[in-house]
Structure formats: structure tokens, C-alpha cells
Symmetry: C2
């Protein structure tokens, strides 16, 4: 299977009417993608291992050694996401194996293609759930109790899919066999396009990143009969917090976004009793991230005082900065014709494995619009093929017979 | 059945864990309430007529005359609404009949107890749907095509409930038999409590009122990787519009509320592609209402220009001011020991019938907190019984044998 025919096979899976994708953990679309992965692994004679957390690892070579080279990414999407975020890395990995085979390259180290489960956290709210469970940085009991928007726990969903929740948890045995991880991913900004014109870049670091749930509580009232000065309207406090987050992120050179909101009772003629909203915040260093969150929280509290509402902030997940292996990044940049080395604001399974101590690198494929998490996410086919070539050369460099 | 025992019988129907009510048109709870209504009508020997729109009319006396006195209200609720908004008027009507019978009052005019369908519009988005259909001010074809949040049309819902969508439409024959309508309703503000201390007031007018849908369109993007100055985030435009609506309503002595919002894709790490929100706006006169909407719309458009987003505003429904029959209101105020006469910001079926030319009055029962459309909506039992007494005296005054 060529890169293009694999890509075309995946195109319809979980695609919505507007061209966006809904590929959530353990959905029908996700199961179809898992079957596709198993088929591609089998077609190349790879041994498929499911680690119990839903992470798929397709193995070539000695499965008992401790220096395997892992390549891959994830297959799930955000709601209404693009086709590239995740699948590009998995498809490119299989295509890179085909390229190595076509070139007759012999490998000294075991090679593994991986697809991590629920990277986006779109269903249960915790990003990189699969890799975090595997490394033990997410507690299995906590994860199994997470609920999706229909109120189902992860444990219930796994059981309904014929899986064993009791198999969820850390896998030091498998991680101990992995010597290096290289994740290829579509770039989620325009740095490559704007600065260098290179089709492929090498990752240096992932910005610190947090998800914060804001719960604004007021008092439900009739929208038509309650005088403006007798209201306790949490929508006002929310609205001001959205604008404060945007302003503070600009002032600090950071990023803050309110992209998800839930309103009770969400009726046209009812002042809400409660508004719950999630802030995604990222910054180049942890001090700035903390400062950003403190400023937004404090402005929200001030406004709540004036609105007669209450606001509570909970950090649902906070990830420290991840610096990828600097020597490895430099080595790959040199190998790939002086590819630019750049940080990213997005979290990745690569970050989870790097934090766990696995020497890790990322390859980014140019995104001409910078748009991601959107039906309009795009990468040119020539750039995708350049990514396959770069990954193939990287595998040969790191694992090829000397 | 006493007022209290009828009240207690209704209390569990559609009640949610937090004490609020979910009694939406044609839901299981709504059907239970309709059965209850039929039972109370039968127990008093009233002839029950369903007008095809779901409005229930229970008739005592000659059904062919044109001067029947209609009393009643509605049984449905907003999401998470209170127990009183609607049912108080229906229960009080049955209790008033019992009071008249106990006092041996003979009536000269036919008396009808009514429960109008889908007054709140909580399911299909159009308030007073039952009375509007009956009077012809809402087109049957338009109503039958309305969809609830699950995507079901009213026609589909009616058919699933064993009803005939082809029976939906105006009923001039029934309306022609009604000479006067008196709707008793819990007050949805604190005017009675604050100003007069009277348990019962008489309605003078309903403020002009509109529901406006704002559609804010931007561009979906990754929350972590898209620089702040490359975003087209419609949540920012929405947030500013919420604050503008609040401020302008205060400046104009009007009311404006954003209580319902829908976000696409509504993911924590995705800048939204679209935010849809509904503004409920009311003012003491139509000029002020128009001014309010114009100011908010213009500020939203200005902000959209700065955010790189687009905003579209659609008036989903706009109701002109309704002045109730002034002579009738004065007459009832005098009858009821100089009860205060007051306007309301809430729409009612009484307004729909008044606009249709039916001489109409409203009685309001004191609400000590002013809270409505909320689990905390409340009226004291002594005030509710004062309402029954006032309604009984009103019926005797308007329909009693001379």
C-alpha cells in the first residue's frame, strides 16, 4: 500500500458532513481505525501488541530487546478535527517501512509502529490518556472513573467494547523495550511555512500547558421579569472572563482559549443558574503560564463579586514544559538537510514518553495555513511524502545496520 | 379535591433531582399532566375538548353560547423551572369552581377551565405555541416543521404520541364561544411584595418582547498552536455581545439576557468555528426595545470586525406590547379590595388571546423572592389560597347569576 492509498482508505472513517472528523476514543470510527491498523501491521508481518490501555504497538524484530525504535502517533481526533492531526504520523510510519524495504535497508534495532489511544482527550477530557496510562502518569482508577458527555465511565465503555478494564494500567515491561521514540506530526502552526520554507522540521520542546475548568454559579431567574439589578447572572461573569483571558494571553505572549462551555438550564428565557467553561492555556515557560492563570482567575473573581455570582477554578490537567532530547534533535536536523528546530504549543504522546525518560524526537510536516483541529487542516501531498522520506531516513540513521 | 391535595398530586410530575421541573410539550411528564387535567375535569362533570393543538378546554354549561368565561393557564415548564409558573393558574381554577360550588353560587355564563399547550416554548423554541396556533397567529405548517434539540419535528412528535398533525390549526369556532379570559399566574417579580404587600394583583400590560438568534462565525483552530493575533475566535465576539446587551439594557431601563448558547465544536483545545446564542429582550415600549436591539447588534458587528469574525442576527419572534382590557382591570382591582394593577415582562397565553381581541385580564399571586423559571420559584400557601379566593370572586362577579 502506498502512502496515498492508505490515506484514501482512512479518509471516510468518522468523516462528518462538513468534512471534519469525529474519531473519539472507542467510538465506531475508532474501532474501524484500529482494525485498519491491525490490517496494515499484518500486511507487513508485524506482531501486534495491545498494551491493555488501547495503545497499539506493531513490532518488527526481537521483542525482548531494550533498544527498539518506536515511530508513530495517534488515530483519534478532536470534535470536527482535521484528517492529519494524528493519522499522518501513523500512515507515514507504515509508508516509511515500505520505503526502507524497497531500498533494501537492513535494521539492527527492533522497529515498532505505535498508535496511542485517546490522544486528544475529546471524549473523557484528559489528553494523551493512552500514553499517560502506559507510563503510569495517569492513575488507572482515576481514568476508569472518567465520564463522557453521555455520563458513561471509561470502564463502562471499555466493557461495552468487549475489553477488560482491569487490564488498564502502567506497562513498564513494554516501555522498557523502547530505546527511542520519534513521532511525526502535522505542524499546527505556520512556523515552517513562514520562516524557512522547509517541508519538515524537528521539534525542540512542548510548551507548558493546562486545562482549567471554571464553574460560574449564579441564580436561575426569569429573563423577562427579573430587573437587571436583581440578577445573579453567571453568563456575565463568564463573558468577562473570556475577554480577560484573551487580553492577558496577548499581554504575556501566551495563549488562552475558551472553546467549550456548558450552560444550565440553557433556555432562551432563563437566566442561567450555572455556566461551566474550560480554559486551555499555554505559554513558553511555566512562570508565564502560572502568571496567566493567576491573572485570569483574579479578574474572574473580581467580576463575580460585582455580578453576585461565584466562580471556582479547577486545574484539570497541567503539563510542565517538555524539552525533547537536544542532542537527538540536533542530529536529526543535520541529517535532514538542516531542518529547522522549533517548539510547539500542542501536547503530544511524544511529550509523555519524553517526560518518562524515553529519548524522544518529533518531526513536523509543513502546514501551509497553520490551521489545525478544524476541517480546514491541510498539508500538501508533496510535503507529506517529504515527511515519509524524512522518517525513513531517520529510521535508517537510528536503527540501520552499521 | 382541595387546592392543597391537587398541588401535592402534581408535585412529583417531571420533578428533577435538584427540585426543578422538566415538563416539556409532549414529554411523558406533559402527558401525565394532561391525564391529571382530564381527571379533575371529569370529577367536576366538565366536558373536555381538545382543540387539536393540544389546548385542553373543560366546559361547564352551554357549549354553544358566545360568552363563556375562560379561566386557567398552562401546565408545561421551562428546563429546570419552578412548580408555580403555569400550574398555579390551572389548579386555582379547579379550586375556584369547588369554592363556588361550596358557596352555592349559580352561574349565568358558561365557564371553561383551560390548559394551553407548550406555553414556554422550551422544546420547539416558540412560546405560547398552543394559544398562537388556536388563534392562527402561528402558522400550522411552520409549527409542525419546528424541531426539538433531538432533531424531531413537532409533526413527528405528535404522531408518536398518537395525535393527528392535520388537526393542528386555528379554531375560530371555539374562540368564538369565549367572551372573556382571566389567567391567574404567579408573579415573576417582586412588585407585589415590595410595593404593596398585597397577595394578589391585576395585570395591566405585557411588555414588548423579542427573541433574537445571534450566529457568530469564526474559524476553527488549534487552541495551543494558533497565535493570538492569527485567530478568528467567535467566542470573543459572543462574550463582548453578552456584556454589551447587559449594559445597554441597564442604560435603557430594559431587560436583555443571553441564557442559551451552542458552540461548535465545543472542544477544550479547539477555537470554536461557530457560536450560536439567543438574546431575550424586553422593554416597556416598542421604541425602547428596537433601540436596545439596534445598539447590541451594532456593538456585536463592531467587535466582529475586530475579531475577524462574522455575526448574523435573526429575530426569531417579536411580540408587540399587549395592553389588557383597561376597564376590566379597573373593575377587578376594585372588586379585589383595590388590588394593585401592574405590568409584566413575561409573555402569557393571556397576551395572545388579548391580541386576538378576547377581553382579557390577569391575576398575579405574590412571589416573595421574585424568582421564577427556577427551582427556587415560590409562593406562600396562604397567598395561593388568596389567589383561589380572588379567582372565585372574579368568576362570581363576571359570570354569576344577576
Amino acid at each position: 500500500m502506498s502512502f496515498t492509498s492508505m490515506w484514501d482508505a482512512l479518509a471516510p472513517v468518522g468523516r462528518q458532513a462538513d468534512g471534519g472528523y469525529g474519531r473519539f476514543a472507542w467510538s465506531d470510527a475508532d474501532l474501524t481505525l484500529r482494525e485498519w491498523f491491525a490490517g496494515e501491521a499484518a500486511a507487513r508481518g508485524l506482531d501486534l501488541v495491545d498494551d491493555g490501555n488501547g495503545n497499539l504497538l506493531a513490532w518488527r524484530g526481537d521483542t525482548t530487546r531494550d533498544d527498539a525504535l518506536l515511530v508513530g502517533s495517534h488515530l483519534d481526533s478532536v470534535p470536527g478535527g482535521g484528517a492529519f492531526d494524528g493519522p499522518l504520523g501513523v500512515v507515514s510510519s507504515f509508508a516509511a517501512i515500505d520505503d526502507l524495504d524497497a531500498r533494501g535497508v537492513e535494521l539492527d534495532r527492533p522497529l515498532v509502529v505505535g498508535a496511542f489511544a485517546d490522544e486528544e482527550g475529546a471524549r473523557f477530557g484528559i489528553a494523551c490518556a493512552g500514553s499517560r496510562l502506559m507510563t503510569g502518569s495517569l492513575d488507572a482508577g482515576q481514568a476508569l472513573g472518567l465520564r463522557d458527555r453521555d455520563g458513561l465511565t471509561l470502564a463502562e465503555v471499555l466493557r461495552a467494547r468487549g475489553r477488560r478494564p482491569e487490564d488498564v494500567g502502567p506497562r513498564p515491561d513494554l516501555l522498557g523495550r523502547i530505546g527511542t521514540f520519534v513521532e511525526l506530526h502535522v505542524e499546527q502552526g505556520r512556523a515552517l511555512d513562514l520562516d524557512d520554507g522547509a517541508a519538515v522540521g524537528v521539534g525542540s520542546a512542548i510548551w507548558p500547558h493546562g486545562r482549567y475548568r471554571f464553574t460560574f454559579t449564579g441564580r436561575a431567574d426569569h429573563a423577562g421579569t427579573t430587573p437587571m439589578d436583581e440578577r445573579q447572572d453567571p453568563m456575565l461573569t463568564y463573558a468577562m472572563t473570556v475577554l480577560a483571558a484573551n487580553k492577558q494571553a496577548r499581554l504575556l505572549g501566551a495563549r488562552a482559549t475558551f472553546g467549550r462551555v456548558e450552560v444550565d438550564p440553557n433556555g432562551t428565557n432563563a437566566i442561567p443558574s450555572q455556566v461551566r467553561a474550560w480554559m486551555d492555556a499555554r505559554a513558553a515557560d511555566e512562570g508565564v503560564l502560572e502568571d496567566l492563570v493567576a491573572r485570569v482567575t483574579s479578574q474572574a473573581a473580581d467580576r463575580a463579586g460585582r455580578d453576585g455570582t461565584a466562580v471556582e477554578t479547577t486545574a484539570e490537567s497541567v503539563s510542565a514544559e517538555v524539552a525533547f532530547d537536544a542532542a537527538l534533535a540536533a542530529e536529526l536536523s543535520t541529517l535532514l538537510d538542516d531542518a529547522p528546530v522549533l517548539p510547539t504549543g500542542a501536547g503530544h504522546d511524544a511529550g509523555v514518553l519524553a517526560r518518562h525518560g524515553v529519548p524522544t524526537a518529533m518531526l513536523f510536516v509543513r502546514n501551509p495555513t497553520g490551521v489545525s483541529h478544524s476541517p480546514h487542516e491541510h498539508a500538501d501531498e508533496t510535503d507529506c511524502l517529504a515527511g515519509v522520506d524524512a522518517l525513513s531516513r531517520t529510521i535508517e540513521h537510528l536503527a540501520g545496520a552499521r
